[in-house]
Amino acid sequence: MFELLGIPPQALFGQLLLGLINGSFYAMLSLGLAVIFGLLNIINFTHGAQYMMGAFVTWMLLTYFGINYWAALILVPLIVGATGIVIERLMISRLYHLDHLYGLLLTFGLALIIQGLFRNQYGVSGIPYAAPELLQGGHNLGFMYLPNSRLWVIVASLVVCLGTWFMIEKTKLGAYLRAATENPTLVGAFGINVPRMITLTYGFGVGLAALAGVLAAPIYSVNPNMGEQLIIVVFAVVVIGGMGSILGAIITGFGLGLVEGLTRVFYPEGSAVVIFVIMAIVLLVKPAGLFGRTA
């Protein structure tokens, strides 16, 4: 087998695969954040906790009700999305007339509370979630071994991201969403129920986070801290991609996952910080982000 700069191909492709998987989560989570920020003008700091809830509810459904992974893919986003709708109606909707900062503080506080509750109940050691049979095993591609569970995460994430992009950019519903993002007052004056749209959009963004949580359950252990660790990186991804760009969030998410994977091969010491270094550079050169629109 060939070698690249002294790196065995198994290591290279293994890390690239890992990068793509991380990228799948970055993309799905930053997509949800971008959708929410676009319409609500709120940076949803609860996003990581909602991703964690997605994984936990998946585990609970299986443990307490015997509901399997495939059903959880549909049910969990609906359940966690519904909790998001309650949060939006009861709390976030009261802050729209205030500065962004208040929404950020509220959602940050909620994240701490939710994570604290789960930590109290389940500890921090993590709970395993067995992958369903269909996702066990894998393919030997010759140059590397590709586990089915990982392939599935990448495919599912791509489908979800592109589906969301299509819905927002190419459908009538998406046109309402884009228009309301630009000028909610006028959209309301056309007879469209903007407050309801805002609520459903938040629910949808939260549902996306929860879906990422379902996908994460079999490959990472289910842990109250899983969202907290991930969300910091995701915020960096969002800053790099630029707030409010749907395609930008997707491309940046996958791209930075790969960059991180490559760094792990060629300069492992830098892998934990590479995304933040890129963020700093992007902020200096193009403060609105790679795909962001300057206001």
């Binding site: 228009a179 309301g188 007879g191």
Partner: protein, 249 residues
């Protein structure tokens, strides 16, 4: 020879027998500042009226208050006999009033087609796309362009066109001729005349009173948040000096 004198001021006017839209003692606030101090006017079905006045007189604010966009407002706005003053904008739109804002409100993240199709239908009987493209042939060529890539005139046409689709027969048009070339102003004038002949009811905010005179039945003069005078279009010539004073032309 009739000399227009102040004694002949036609303050009470031939209001339409059965007003479709009636605004009484409308007051409005931007935050703490009281900007509308009693706006009164009424429009009968199929009429075109204008609100004339200087910059900052309160014409646009009046439109926003009628449409429910101005959050703090009191008084009475009745439409087809129903009181609208407490309703949010979306319910006023559903009641059958359509609004075309001064800044036109074309969405930059939407194509021309998406902009055109955005406002939902509120009633049956809206204009078909074919009819709309007859009125505004330019739009048909540019359907896939980004909304804000259109020229100012085309954006104005799009802003009017999209509310004609909805079936609303009462239109609030805020300065549709502002900043447009004379040939476009004429086209918009012809469109308004055609809409009137089809039974549309139109409230027009204008600063260009020549344009207003060419399309309207009646003019309400707005000064410092009040309607201070009403002039029938037929009596416009007799009142031209007075009008000039009001508008400071």
């Amino acid at each position: 020879m009739v000399e227009p004198t102040t004694m002949e001021r036609p303050i009470a006017t031939k209001a339409p027998i059965k007003p479709l839209l009636e605004v009484k003692n409308l007051q409005g606030w931007y935050g703490e500042s009281h900007v509308l101090h009693g706006i009164n006017f009424s429009v009968g079905e199929g009429e075109v009226i204008t609100l004339l006045g200087r910059n900052g007189a309160g014409k646009t604010t009046t439109m926003k208050a009628v449409m429910g966009i101005l959050a703090k407002r009191t008084g009475s706005v009745t439409f087809e006999g129903n009181e609208l003053i407490k309703l949010p904008a979306r319910k006023i739109a559903k009641a059958g009033i359509a609004y075309c804002p001064e800044e036109r409100g074309i969405f930059s993240s939407l194509s021309v087609q998406e902009n055109l199709m955005l406002p939902p239908k509120v009633r049956e009987g809206g204009l078909s796309l074919d009819t709309i493209f007859e009125l505004f042939p330019n739009l048909k060529e540019r359907l896939s362009s980004q909304g804000t890539k259109l020229s100012g005139g085309e954006q104005q046409m799009l802003a009017i066109a999209r509310i004609l689709r909805t079936g609303a027969k009462t239109l609030l048009l805020d300065e549709p001729t502002e900043g447009l070339a004379p040939v476009i102003v004429q086209q918009i004038g012809r469109t308004i005349a055609k809409l009137k002949s089809q039974g549309f009811t139109i409230v027009l905010v204008e600063q260009n009173f020549r344009f207003a005179a060419s399309v309207a039945d009646r003019h309400y003069i707005v000064e410092q948040g009040r309607v201070v005078d009403t002039i029938q279009n037929a009596e416009l010539d007799a009142n031209i000096d007075k009008l000039h004073r009001y508008l400071g032309v």
